[in-house]
Structures are given as structure tokens and as C-alpha cells.
């Protein structure tokens, strides 16, 4: 009997003392005195029913996982108990939850971590009873089921969805230091979406030439409505039914949502149930009382659909720490107007800038991952990132936005932010740019 197996066995026995450990033991074949696994059941006996949901609590951890068989297959996977990924739910039906940007790599947001902003909760919709109605200035008012929509030619596109209010809290309070990337910019998420180009549906119903706007309406309890120019439909608008390879999650609009690439998230109406074509906007609450941008001129900008280019370093970030030596500075950049052309990173608070590497693929209206290698020498540093998109737009400072729009402006607050690295390696948010 080796030390390893005896330790493993002792670990398991310790676990058996607790209720959770007991449940684990039931799934892990007991070891005999020689440390060899015994069959789970006598030959001919019914095999134990495998667990559908792996333990939610950290199971007993073998000292040497090569000496103890692991868990069986399961209907749905779960994250490692060593990984904790969580949104920040406010817990109310008109609330939000933000994506944990600091814990994610690459560019795709896992669907269960996509940010949320709802106006009357997440509806439970039976797809068999849900239709998309298209009427108004059309030749053939029509109703489409989910199955109908899947019969049309489909496209798959990777796009960011960003709330117009992303970054608002740190814009209003630039002095807060204990802010994570999730808090600063987590009202954005990036997914692979599959669905029907909206123009195919409008061709199908015979949109008339007088139609200049359409109203998109959700089937949730806020029956949310937004007016959208027809030109978006004939550009890149989609009616999507799948996200990251699976049907939409309820929080993301199951069974169908509108997806308007590059436009403020509120316009990508979830739980889409109706499209009405007309000649002018409807002036709904969500495009008058909300989602309009007051300006210092004494006016407010309306139908400010496109999201301006933004970037944020997601590592290092608060509440993490930096050790001396080489590491990556890594982050995300995107623009509602097309591709990211360039991301510059500064380690000295903007005195000098270095071009970061853009990790391919660089997609239009989607997250682009950037990084640069960085050797921290133990002296205080101020890390910033600045995105430029393919139109030549350069992400502005907070001060610049205030100069141009006024201190009371709201929505589309995409200012440069970053992280202050203290001499002890602790990292704090820096939003006062």
C-alpha cells in the first residue's frame, strides 16, 4: 500500500463524515485494502444511477487524482468547483446583472453569464404558443412560428450586445477605486448568434416602399417597444433563435429576439412577438424618457443607436494583484460601427502608448481581445487602454466627453479607464481620465 493511496483513502473517509462527502462516496468506488478499485456493484446487479447534477459544493479533493477514478458522465456539465464565475444580480424584476469580464478569456461570453437588463422580469414562454406577427405597411400581414423561422436561410454571426448604460456608474463616480471590470463595463457580452436576416422576413411579407420605420415589441410583462429605421433591417438586423450553439436562454429572449448588431442593447428586443411597419417612429417610453442623451446645449440626442468604440483592460484588474516580472496585460475592445483597428496600452497613465496585439479574428461589432506582455518592476504604474475603430474614431477620456456633451449627459459613456498598480502590487480602478 503506497502513501498516495492511503492518503486518498483517508481523504475519502474524512469526507464520508459529512453529508456531502457521503454522497460523493456513493459515486466513487470504495478502495480495497490494496488500493485497487472494487466494482461499484456485484455483477448482475442494477448499476447505480449516475448523478445528473455534479455536486455544487466542493467535493473531497484527492491528493493524487490519478489514484482515484473521477466522476461519471452526466447530462449537463458543470464548472470546476475551483472556478467561481458569477454575475452581479440586483435580484429584482427591473434590475440588472453584469458579466464577470475579469474572469473570462477569449471573446465569447458563456451564455449563462451574459449580462441582464430586464424591465418586468424574464417571461416563461412556451414556443408552441409564441408567434412573430408582422403587419402594418406590408402586403401580406403574417404570423411565423419558431419552426417557420427556422425554415428560412440562416446566418451565424458573432456580435457584442452592450447596454446604453454600460459604464454609467463609473462615469458618475470617477473616484471609486474598488471597482472591478465587471462593474465598470460588464453590461456588455459577446455571443455567436444564429437566426434569419430580418430583410428576408420583410421581403416575405412584402414591406411596402413607404415603410421607413418599424416597431419591435417584446412578449414580456413590460411589452417593451422600440422604433427602428428600416435601413437597419436591410443592413444587418437578425431575428435570432440560437446563442452559442444552443437555443436562446430565457434571459436572452427565448424563443426569439431581435439582434441589431452594434446598436444599444435595448433595441435588440427580447422575446420578440411583433413587428409593425410604419412611416415614422412611435416615440415609445424607451426612446424618449429613457435612452436619450442630454447635451450641454439644452437639447437631448434621440435615437442614438450606435455604441461608440470602447476598451477595457480585464487583467490585471481590481481586486487582483500584480507580481514582479513578466505577465500579460489583456482586455477587450469593440465598436458598434465596425471593426477595431487598434488598441493602445499605456503603463504610465497616458504619457506614452504602445500598440497592443489584436488577437484574431477581429470581427465587426464584436469583442476583440487585445494583449501585450508587461514586466512589472515593482514601481507604481497606471495602466490604460484606448481603442480606435475602423472609422478612425478614438475612444475619448472622461474629460473629453464632458467637454463635448456636458457633465449631466447620459448613456453611451465609453471613456478611457484603467488600473492603478500600487507599490505593493495591489490594483485599483482608475476612472478619472
Amino acid at each position: 500500500m503506497t502513501d498516495d493511496t492511503s492518503l486518498s483513502r483517508r481523504e475519502l473517509l474524512t469526507g464520508a463524515a459529512g453529508a456531502i462527502g457521503g454522497a460523493l462516496i456513493a459515486r466513487v468506488p470504495a478502495l480495497d485494502a490494496q488500493g485497487a478499485p472494487k466494482p461499484a456493484a456485484a455483477p448482475g446487479a442494477a448499476p447505480a444511477v449516475p448523478p445528473v447534477v455534479p455536486p455544487a459544493v466542493l467535493p473531497v479533493v484527492p491528493v493524487d487524482p490519478t489514484k482515484v477514478p473521477g466522476l461519471p458522465t452526466s447530462a449537463q456539465g458543470a464548472r470546476s468547483p475551483f472556478v467561481t464565475l458569477a454575475r452581479t444580480p440586483t435580484g429584482d424584476i427591473t434590475g440588472t446583472s453584469y458579466s464577470p469580464l475579469q474572469d473570462l478569456t477569449g471573446t465569447i461570453t458563456p451564455s449563462d453569464l451574459h449580462f441582464e437588463r430586464h424591465h418586468a422580469g424574464i417571461p416563461l414562454i412556451d414556443p408552441a404558443r409564441h408567434t412573430l406577427l408582422i403587419h402594418g405597411l406590408v402586403e401580406r400581414p403574417s404570423a411565423f412560428t419558431l419552426d417557420d423561422l427556422k425554415r428560412f436561410p440562416f446566418v451565424t454571426r458573432t456580435h457584442v450586445v452592450e447596454c446604453a448604460g454600460n459604464g454609467r456608474a463609473v462615469f458618475r463616480d470617477p473616484k471609486g477605486e474598488k471597482v472591478t471590470p465587471q462593474r465598470a463595463a460588464g453590461m456588455s457580452s459577446n455571443s455567436e448568434w444564429t437566426g434569419v436576416p430580418l430583410r428576408l422576413l420583410f421581403d416575405e411579407v412584402g414591406a411596402t416602399p413607404e415603410a421607413a420605420w418599424f416597431l419591435a415589441e417584446g412578449g414580456d410583462a413590460s411589452v417593451l417597444t422600440r422604433s427602428v429605421p428600416m435601413s437597419k433591417a436591410f443592413d444587418d438586423a437578425l431575428v435570432v433563435y440560437a446563442q452559442n450553439g444552443e437555443p436562446l436562454r430565457p434571459a436572452q429572449g427565448y424563443p426569439i429576439r431581435l439582434l441589431l448588431p452594434g446598436w444599444e442593447g435595448n433595441t435588440s428586443v427580447k422575446w420578440l412577438r411583433r413587428l409593425e411597419l410604419g412611416t415614422k417612429p412611435w416615440m415609445t417610453r424607451w426612446e424618449t424618457s429613457k435612452y436619450t442623451d442630454p447635451l450641454a446645449s439644452g437639447m437631448a440626442r434621440q435615437f442614438s443607436f450606435e455604441v461608440d468604440a470602447r476598451s477595457i483592460i480585464t487583467s490585471p484588474a481590481h481586486p487582483g494583484t500584480v507580481d514582479k516580472g513578466w505577465r500579460n496585460i489583456s482586455g477587450l475592445a469593440w465598436s458598434g460601427r465596425g471593426k477595431i483597428r487598434r488598441v493602445e496600452v499605456s503603463t504610465n497613465g497616458g504619457k506614452s502608448w504602445i500598440d497592443a496585439l489584436l488577437h484574431p479574428p477581429v470581427l465587426s461589432k464584436a469583442y476583440t481581445r487585445f494583449s501585450i506582455p508587461f514586466a512589472w518592476d515593482g514601481t507604481p504604474a497606471l495602466l490604460l487602454s484606448r481603442a480606435t475603430d475602423e472609422t478612425g474614431y478614438v475612444q475619448p477620456t472622461r474629460e473629453r466627453i464632458i467637454t463635448v456633451r456636458g457633465a449631466g449627459t447620459d448613456y453611451h459613456l465609453n471613456h478611457i479607464v484603467g488600473w492603478r498598480v500600487a507599490a505593493d502590487g495591489r490594483v485599483f480602478f482608475h476612472g478619472d481620465t
Binding site: D92, I93, T94, H119, A120, L133, H135, R140, P141, S142, A143, F144, R151, F152, V155, T156, R172, P197, D203, E204, V205, E217, A221, S222, V223, L224, T225, F234, R274, E276, G278, K280, W282, M283, T284, R285, T288, S289, T292, L295, S297, G298, M299, A300, R301, Q302, F303, S304, E306, R337, T391, G392, Y393, P396, V404, R405, A407, G408, T409, H412
Partner: protein, 208 residues
């Protein structure tokens, strides 16, 4: 059966018209800006998917009211009727005087600041129906579809007229003894009516 035949012919026609050209050219030649994976459109331009919507099912869902109010339903309500309804069904969240409980429950009443629309300069100003909303029809449309929060869609059209009247009167937009119906609501002009401009951000070097 007839539909199936037409479909098959559609595919054949697509191949004949566009099959010989390279993929990139095919998009331009056959799709009029269509994405490559959409393939060539059927010759009729339609896929014959979905069914005709009935006038009755459209009427049930088509509850939106635009800024000229042409869709406003029959019915009417007074400010005083609205005051009673507000006390019973809205005040628990929006406050007895419509003062709200920010940030979760919006303030609904308030005309200050009366001059200059200074929201772009002062982040502390609270937007209300009276100082910020450009159209009165929006209030009718929104309350009818979305309020009260836990029982949306439960108000009759008369009740929505009454609540709209009450909130407009509290915001000093209409008189305290007013009655609202489709015609009088259409005629309401909101204080912030001319305060909205189209988006002038276009990308490029300028920050707007």
C-alpha cells in the same frame, strides 16, 4: 404538393442563373447584397413560409399609440378619477405625490427646472413626465402596456385616460378639472416637445 414543386423549381432556377459564377460574384449577381450563406432567393422572391395573420389577432396585439395619437381608443377619464386610481394602484411604488422612490421607482411628477432644459449640464436633475417627456401619447401607451408593475394590462382604457389626465395635471401640463379622451389627448403639447435632436455621431475622428 404544388408548393413542393415550386420550391424544387426555385432551387433549379437558382442553380441555372447563378451556379456557374464564383461564390463572391454570386452574392453580387444573385442576392442584391445578400450574405453568401443565404443562397439565391427563390424566383418569386418569397419562400412561402408562415401563415396569413388575421385582422382579429393583429387587433389584440396592436395596442401601440404613436405621437399623433391616431391609434387612441374610445373612452375618457378625468383628473379626479385618475387621482383615486393613482392612490389605490400606483402610489405604493411611485409615492403619494408621484415623487417616486429613486432609483428603483421613478419620480413621475415635477416641472423643475422650468427653463433651459439643463439636463446635459447637471447629472443630479431628475427627469419626469413634466420636465422631460416630449409626447403625452407616450404616457398613455406606456401605462396601458406596462403598469401597474405587477398587474400590467389590467387597466381599462377609461382608467388609462384618467391616470394620464391625473399625471399630466400633477405635472401642470393640463388643468386640474380636465377630462381626457382621444381628441383632447392628441391636442396636448408637452413642455419638452422641442428638446430632442437626431443623433449626430457618425464615427470618424470627431467625438460628439
Amino acid at each position: 404538393m404544388q408548393q413542393t414543386t415550386r420550391r424544387i423549381r426555385g432551387v433549379v432556377a437558382g442553380v441555372v442563373a447563378c451556379g456557374a459564377v464564383a461564390a463572391v460574384a454570386l452574392i453580387a449577381a444573385c442576392g442584391g447584397g445578400r450574405d453568401a450563406e443565404m443562397g439565391a432567393p427563390p424566383p418569386s422572391g418569397r419562400y412561402d413560409i408562415g401563415r396569413a395573420a388575421t385582422a382579429a389577432e393583429i387587433a389584440v396585439m396592436d395596442i401601440d399609440v404613436g405621437p399623433d395619437g391616431v391609434e387612441l381608443p374610445a373612452g375618457q377619464g378625468t383628473v379626479s378619477q385618475g387621482a383615486k386610481l393613482f392612490g389605490a394602484q400606483c402610489a405604493s411604488c411611485h409615492g403619494v405625490q408621484g415623487e417616486g422612490m429613486p432609483p428603483a421607482y421613478p419620480k413621475l411628477v415635477g416641472r423643475e427646472p422650468r427653463e433651459g432644459f439643463p439636463f446635459g449640464r447637471d447629472p443630479k436633475l431628475e427627469k419626469t413626465i413634466g420636465n422631460y417627456w416630449p409626447y403625452a401619447t407616450t404616457l398613455f401607451d406606456y401605462v396601458r402596456r406596462a403598469m401597474p408593475l405587477f398587474t400590467p394590462g389590467s387597466l381599462s382604457d377609461d382608467e388609462v385616460y384618467a391616470l394620464t389626465a391625473y399625471l399630466l395635471a400633477q405635472n401642470e401640463v393640463i388643468k386640474a378639472d380636465a377630462t381626457l379622451d382621444a381628441e383632447s389627448l392628441k391636442a396636448v403639447r408637452m413642455p419638452a416637445r422641442d428638446r430632442f435632436v437626431p443623433d449626430d455621431r457618425k464615427g470618424g475622428a470627431a467625438v460628439r
